[in-house]
């Protein structure tokens, strides 16, 4: 049986791991390769590296990091952050990334999704969507939640699927950093309306939140950062509890 995935997310700035609370006020949480190895051996099903550096050398630094992670880690990993062209994706996949995640660049140029999935296959193209609720309507945000658009979440998600994305990583900006749980209503709607896997992100605070997002939110995978980085939740304990709740997990 296909299992539900637990995905620690490592935010990367200039080659180091950081995690922001609501995407600002960053805290250092260690060396990415070392952290990745620890997660791989402690039951994580997959890893996501999100690069938020803005330096000129970022492309090379990220490619180097991908290479070093691929060398050591025996589970799949996705790389995102600032990816906007076929060349960007090519270099990351060649260095050993399994999947790439695109966000703002896909909104600015939706054809990019078609081009990437045609060239590299849908299976390695994750489209990340950040959204928040404005007057009861879910609206897509860009640049880590700083820039609003007029695009509706569910319209965009449908379009993303039709254009060939293999997976959607949905982050609720309303929930992110709150530790009050995932945006399960929106997640369930995405999961029901679409036929590609949905990764839940934003709001993980305790083990119950994961159970809820798999059951109520119908998510295929759940992503979190600080609860794992600061050892508030051990993945082994989390999976044991999910299993007890009848949710299929890899143990």
């Amino acid at each position: 049986m296909l299992t539900k995935r637990i995905i620690p997310c490592l935010d990367i700035k200039n080659g180091r791991t950081v995690k922001g609370v609501n995407f600002v006020d960053l805290r250092d949480a260690g060396d990415p390769v070392e952290l990745a190895e620890i997660y791989a051996s402690s039951g994580a099903d997959e890893l996501v590296f999100l690069d938020i550096s803005a330096t000129e050398e970022r492309r090379k630094t990220l490619a180097d990091l991908v290479f070093r992670v691929a060398e050591k880690v025996n589970i799949p990993f996705t790389v995102g952050g600032g990816i906007s062209s076929i060349e960007d994706v090519d270099i990351l996949l060649q260095n050993g990334a399994d999947k790439v995640s695109i966000n703002s660049s896909a909104v600015k140029n939706p054809q990019l999704i078609n081009d990437l999935s045609a060239k590299f296959g849908s299976q390695c193209i994750v489209v990340a969507i950040d959204a928040k609720q404005i007057d009861g309507e879910w609206i897509v945000y860009l640049v880590g939640g700083k820039v609003s658009t007029e695009i509706r979440l569910f319209d965009w998600a449908k379009e993303v699927e039709e254009r060939g994305a293999g997976e959607i990583l949905f982050t609720s900006m309303d929930n992110d950093g709150t530790k009050d749980g995932f945006a399960n209503e929106a997640l369930a709607k995405l999961s029901t309306e679409l036929n590609i896997p949905i990764i839940a992100s934003g709001g993980a605070g305790n083990i119950q939140h994961f159970t809820d997002t798999f059951i109520e939110g119908k998510a295929d995978a759940a992503l979190a950062a600080s609860v794992f980085h600061f050892k508030e939740i051990e993945i082994v304990d989390l999976k044991e509890e999910l299993k007890n709740n009848g949710i299929p997990v890899r143990i």
């Binding site: 049986m1 296909l2 299992t3 539900k4 995935r5 791989a40 099903d45 997959e46 290479f67 691929a70 060398e71 050591k72 025996n74 589970i75 799949p76 996949l93 060649q94 260095n95 050993g96 990334a97 399994d98 045609a118 060239k119 590299f120 296959g121 849908s122 299976q123 390695c124 293999g166 997976e167 036929n195 590609i196 896997p197 295929d220 995978a221 890899r250």
Partner: protein, 193 residues
């Protein structure tokens, strides 16, 4: 031992090279016919879209070489699918090594299947010391139905071939190089053949 990974421009092969390195061996990435013929073990990878991958394989002239190889050959993911008679993806004719036609999952399930699933009914040395119901990592929209050459079964929408074998040819739908310790054991079993 000389291990080659066939490099025909189809996808992420760095991970396979690294996985082999972690097992204490070195692998060469190549599309050179003599180097492939000369190898003790051949790995035939592939990710992406079937018809364009097959196109690349033909362009490099390797489509006629692979079926003639006599040493153990391991096709991974799309590599395994291309070793079948055909695949529905892009209506692509395969290498015809495995006597089965690859088809798409129905829309009763999410497509692609992405993640960790279990393998059962394990046969052959490829799965030596691997327990039934172990978890392996898969990413795919198309699958080989169960057939006489099935040596591992997985379940998604229906029971399908997670691995195939014919003579010296092996194929896994899953990615052993990304399937944690279990995957490494399977890869090591192949290298030890």
């Amino acid at each position: 031992m000389k291990i080659v990974i066939i490099n025909y421009g189809a996808g992420n092969i760095q991970s396979i090279k690294f996985a082999i390195q972690r097992l204490g061996f070195e692998a060469v990435l190549t599309n050179d016919v003599n180097e492939i013929l000369d190898a003790d073990k051949v790995i035939f990878p592939g990710v992406g879209e079937a018809s364009s991958a097959m196109h690349k394989l033909r362009d490099s002239g390797l489509d006629t070489l692979v079926p003639k190889l006599k040493q153990p050959v391991l096709g991974i993911c799309l590599g395994m699918q291309l070793m079948c008679n055909s695949t529905e993806e892009g209506n692509t004719k395969g290498l015809g090594i495995f006597d089965v036609d690859v088809v798409k999952f129905s829309d009763k399930v999410k497509v692609p299947q992405i993640g960790w699933n279990q393998i059962t009914d394990l046969k052959t040395e490829l799965f030596k010391d691997v327990s039934e119901d172990e978890y392996i990592y898969l990413v795919h929209s198309f699958y080989a139905p169960k057939c006489e050459e099935t040596i591992a079964t997985s379940d998604y929408d229906l029971a399908y071939s997670a691995a195939l074998k014919k003579d010296n040819f092996y194929g896994t739908q899953f990615h052993p190089e990304k399937s944690s310790n279990v995957g490494e054991k399977i890869l090591l079993n192949f290298l030890n053949m």
